[in-house]
């Protein structure tokens, strides 16, 4: 089956194409150069005048796993505001802050997203994450396994294990949980909280293991580098949400000692202590540090005003933040000598000084980081806002008048403390395509996603250009997933099942001997039941596939 998208304006930054008019050919789920000799074009779609991009990629979105299910359980009142009825094609569900898996897949696809990555898969809870991702239709999925407060790693580090052995454990964890990458959350801090510590600074020792967050970040970043895992260590830094934490964030960049790291939801880590309220923006300093250090990437974790729910592995921070929850309820968990989690509903208000400044800080970072290949568009769904707010966020980045009007609505003291009013920058469509397609594919090592070159998956989005980018990005005219039209003008027209993306770094199987003994001696499940095999994860994709990406260093950013 050969399809031609005729006459569209191709925006494909991976190949440097910015609005070039060209035909695009899709055959059997892949992008191809054109018809073979005597090959007939089965389907011709006229997209002249339309913008054609690769499917968007959300590289940090909490779409599946235990903490999301806790959030769903806690918030029937939120679901009731956004009921989703079943149709001939689609299952029923709920939307908004903690959507059902089915609705998550449909809505991402209808918005032109074709791959989403769950950033906080606890190894002990990996099977649930895969079960939930498996029940998320249409889009491709993948996950980053979480380490850094697990007792096995901290014991290795305390005992002075050599890097090679730590690499084996890291690689084993990624392989056994079917992950695409590795995340560290409040390094050592989740463990510290279990010992009744309430704060752990970058150079403060975990009270039991006497290792510091700096050492943990460095060790794990080095492990991934040596294992040639494409995605660098995904770092949720220490001191999330604490005024003055920008210094920790800057020090974390330095602490990686040149190893590439990705700083996630950096908005929550860019706070100063200036002003009467001892809360200020340090976005400029953070952006400047990113600009200066080419090995650093970040996603923003923009907040948007309204009700949402925060789901995090950072039990220490979430317990501290529980008092600010709205509605006032929260769940905190210590989990399996492995990690933790905290779920706190939040209502961000534009007339609240802190919330208003958080909003401005996120936008400042977007606009002050110069290289769109190294800053990614996220709201840390649902922690900053539900993912459905992306089109609005894109408009804030692309339209300075709209942005200034929005700035005029927020708490005046926050607006006064922000440099946002003076920032002229407007993102171009090309830059939006970089930060939502080409750059995430590159940073995750997905060679066949995020671009429209020959050999890519036929994940293609066709937009009607609009003076209002929010309208344009809310309901693309066509969304193709693996060559199938899955959505038209915001409505799902076919339900398919996406793939799961993983890497399989090499490791010495000898590590399983120690792990097997450790599990039998201390844990309450057996190693063999902890591991998730290839056949199992393939089965969980509901008919999607398992896509294994090579462990090799990708090129430096363009």
């Amino acid at each position: 089956m050969l399809t031609r998208l005729k006459g569209g304006r191709i925006v494909d930054p991976a190949r440097g194409l910015d609005g070039v008019v060209a035909d695009l050919y899709l055959r059997d789920g892949w992008i191809v150069a054109g018809p073979g000799q005597h090959e007939r074009i089965d389907e011709d779609i006229d997209v002249s005048g339309r913008i054609v991009m690769a499917g968007a990629i959300d590289m940090h979105t909490h779409i599946g796993g235990g903490k999301v299910n806790i959030a769903r359980n806690m918030l029937p009142e939120d679901h009731r505001g956004d009921p989703v009825h079943r149709t001939e094609l689609c299952r029923s569900g709920c939307g908004h802050a903690a959507p059902s898996t089915l609705t998550t897949g449909y809505r991402y696809a209808a918005m032109g997203y074709t791959a989403c990555f769950e950033p906080a898969m606890l190894p002990a809870n990996a099977r649930q994450a895969h079960l939930e991702m498996g029940d998320t239709p249409i889009i491709d999925k993948g996950a980053y396994a979480m380490l850094g407060s697990d007792d096995f790693l901290l014991r290795l580090m305390r005992d002075g294990a050599d890097q090679e052995r730590i690499n084996d454990y890291v690689a084993w964890t990624i392989a056994s949980t079917q992950a695409l990458g590795l995340k560290v959350v409040n390094p050592g801090g989740i463990s510290e909280f279990k010992f009744n510590g309430r704060r752990l600074d970058l150079d403060q020792e975990n009270q039991h293991y006497h290792v510091t967050p700096r050492q943990i970040v460095h060790t794990l970043a080095r492990a991934l580098h040596e294992l040639k895992v494409p995605h660098p260590l995904h770092v949720h830094a220490s001191n999330l949400g604490v005024p003055g934490n920008f210094q920790t964030t800057l020090d974390t960049m330095v602490g990686a000692e040149g190893y590439p790291i990705h700083l996630t939801h950096i908005q929550f880590h860019s706070y100063g202590t200036e002003g009467d309220r001892r809360f200020s923006s340090e976005a400029a300093r953070i952006a400047e540090a990113i600009n200066r250090n080419p090995q650093i990437t970040a996603d923003v974790g923009q907040i948007m005003f309204g009700q949402t729910v925060t789901c995090s592995g950072d039990s220490m921070s979430q317990h501290r933040n529980a008092a600010y929850g709205s509605p006032r309820k929260s769940v905190t968990m210590d989990i399996e000598c492995d990690a933790g989690c905290g779920v706190v509903p939040f209502r961000y208000k534009d007339k609240n000084f802190v919330n208003a400044l958080q909003w401005a800080i996120g936008l400042e970072i977007f606009l002050l980081v110069e290289d769109p290949w190294r800053i990614f568009l996220t709201t840390d769904h649902p922690n900053g806002a539900p993912f459905t707010s992306y089109p609005h966020l894109i408009r804030l980045l692309m339209d300075k008048t709209f942005r200034r009007d929005a700035l005029a609505q927020i708490h005046p003291d926050a607006a006064a403390m922000s440099t946002l009013a003076s920032i002229e920058r407007e993102y171009s469509l090309y830059e939006i395509a970089i930060m939502t397609r080409s750059a995430p594919a590159r940073i995750l090592g997905l060679h066949d996603c995020g671009h429209l070159g020959v050999g890519a998956r036929a994940d293609v989005v066709v937009y009607r250009e609009d003076a209002n980018p929010e309208l344009m990005f809310t309901a693309p005219e066509y969304v193709f997933k693996n060559g199938t039209v899955v959505a038209r003008n915001g409505v799902i027209v076919a339900v398919t099942w996406g793939d799961i993306h993983v890497v399989k770094p090499q490791f010495d199987r000898g590590i399983e001997k120690s792990l097997g003994a450790y599990f039998e001696r201390y844990m309450t499940q057996r190693l063999g039941n902890f591991r998730i095999g290839d056949d199992e994860v393939r089965m969980l994709t509901n008919g999607g596939g398992l896509r294994v990406h090579a462990c090799e260093r990708h090129g430096s950013p363009a």
């Binding site: 009921p83 059902s100 809870n125 009744n196 309820k329 309450t524 199992e536």
Partner: protein
């Protein structure tokens, strides 16, 4: 058949889901040969018994061919305008298929353990809580308070696997711990003390409180922990013992309070649970303490997890309007049957044959039951089904809701699985 012996198999017969069992399958059925508890041994033998030569399906109480029973069940489902899917004692795999069918038919979903679970749910939806998981309890807890429960009756290997252990991560020698039973059944507590309680590192004591005084005791303990009780308080509850317990909780490094909501069978038991979670919150201002609300038996956390991720709501949710409508009171099985608001009960019970089917009166009953369940004379259709972990593979969520263990088919009795039947039913019926 060739005898097969498999190690490290998970047990689906209570929420602990112990996964260190050795299961042997041969012509005599499946038996647990490993470190299984009495409950697991009994249920593997009953539910895993051979089925050769027996009827596997019944229509109106009479033996029938499987295919005929499937068609009859399908007819009932097709005719029903307000079906109720109850029991739901299956695993993740069975539940996922049932959810497809439920959405198609606009069914109400309720689990046989919903009433107990609801007591916890109301607490979570109202205020939240701080909880922990089995391995954390095993390695960290220096004080374990079992409130209103001996735990072992429902979770036989809890102490063996999570409390009375030789090796822990953070202590060089066996971790010294105290276990305090509050208002737990005396005989059952005595049995625990005589077995698990003999370990040198573990001290077990009990505070005797009648079951009907437990709500008051929880409130009192909360007040003692918070230091908000009036000094002149007069009570005939064992105040001194509870005061000591409150002091121990405040002094412990990692206290754990265990409760079993299924046993808290009194009106507004969620207020008792909130007293416990409230005091846990208070303690966490200065030291660590966590709740362990045990559940997960009969696949209740497995079914619940699937419902949550697929609809956003826990069970007692109706899909009749085309989207989820959660109402824990109106959508209860007994209430729906009493009010004549449903016209079919699809009952699923694969784990414990002792769980009784509700009286449906004139409402047709289609029952998918595990081996060992007697023939139900009142059922319009009854089909014997495979049990996950015996002759069906799948997943089982453990009591802490974190670990989902793989269940494996260790024998093949040619019985249909719940998932297969649900898919058959759905494929033969159009959209509502």
């Amino acid at each position: 058949m060739q005898a097969a012996s498999l190690t490290d198999q998970a047990c689906p017969f209570c929420g602990l889901a112990c996964d260190d069992l050795t299961l042997v399958a041969d012509d005599n059925g499946v038996r647990a040969a490993g470190p299984a508890c009495a409950r697991a041994t009994r249920l593997f033998a009953t539910v895993g018994a051979p089925v050769q030569g027996q009827a596997q399906a019944w229509i109106d109480g009479q033996p029938a061919l499987l295919e005929a029973a499937i068609l009859r069940a399908q007819q009932h489902l097709g005719a029903a305008r307000a079906p109720l899917f109850g029991g739901l004692s299956t695993d993740v795999t069975g539940m996922r298929a049932l959810m497809d069918l439920a959405d198609q038919r606009g069914a109400v979903l309720d689990h046989m353990n919903a009433e107990g679970k609801l007591r916890n749910l109301r607490t979570v939806q109202d205020a939240g809580w701080i909880t922990t998981t089995l391995s954390e309890v095993r390695n960290r807890s220096d004080l374990v308070v079992c409130f209103g429960t001996d735990v072992a009756t429902r979770y036989p290997r809890f102490f063996e696997r999570c409390v009375c252990v030789d090796d822990t991560l953070f202590a060089a020698s066996p971790l010294q711990r105290e276990v305090v039973f509050v208002g737990a059944p005396a005989e059952a507590v005595a049995a625990v003390m005589q077995t698990d309680g003999t370990r040198a590192a573990v001290t077990m004591t009990a505070i005797d409180i009648a079951v009907d005084r437990l709500p008051e005791a929880a409130a009192l303990l909360r007040g003692l922990v918070a230091g908000t009780l009036p000094p002149e308080l007069v009570t005939d509850l064992p105040l001194a013992a509870l005061r000591t317990l409150a002091e121990r909780l405040r002094a412990a490094q990692y206290g754990v309070i265990v409760w079993v909501a299924a046993d808290m069978d009194w009106p507004h038991a969620e207020l008792t649970i909130q007293a416990l979670t409230g005091l846990i919150g208070t303690i966490n201002q200065t030291t660590r303490c966590a709740g362990l609300p045990l559940g997960g038996s009969d696949g209740d956390f497995s079914a619940d997890a699937v419902m949550l991720w697929q609809t956003g709501y826990p069970y007692r949710t109706s899909l009749a309007s085309g989207t989820g409508q959660y109402d824990p009171v109106m959508n209860a099985t007994a209430a729906l049957l009493t009010r004549n608001e449903v016209d079919l009960l699809l009952w699923v019970s694969t784990f414990d044959p002792a769980r009784s089917v509700p009286d449906t009166g004139a409402v047709p009953l289609v029952a998918l039951t595990g081996v060992g369940t007697p023939v139900l004379p009142g059922a319009a259709v009854q089909i014997q089904v495979a049990t996950p972990g015996v002759d069906a593979s799948g997943y089982y969520f453990r009591a802490d809701k974190v670990v989902a263990l793989p269940l494996r088919a260790v024998t093949d009795r040619q019985l249909p699985t719940v998932a297969q039947l649900a898919r058959r039913f759905a494929s033969g019926l159009g959209a509502v």
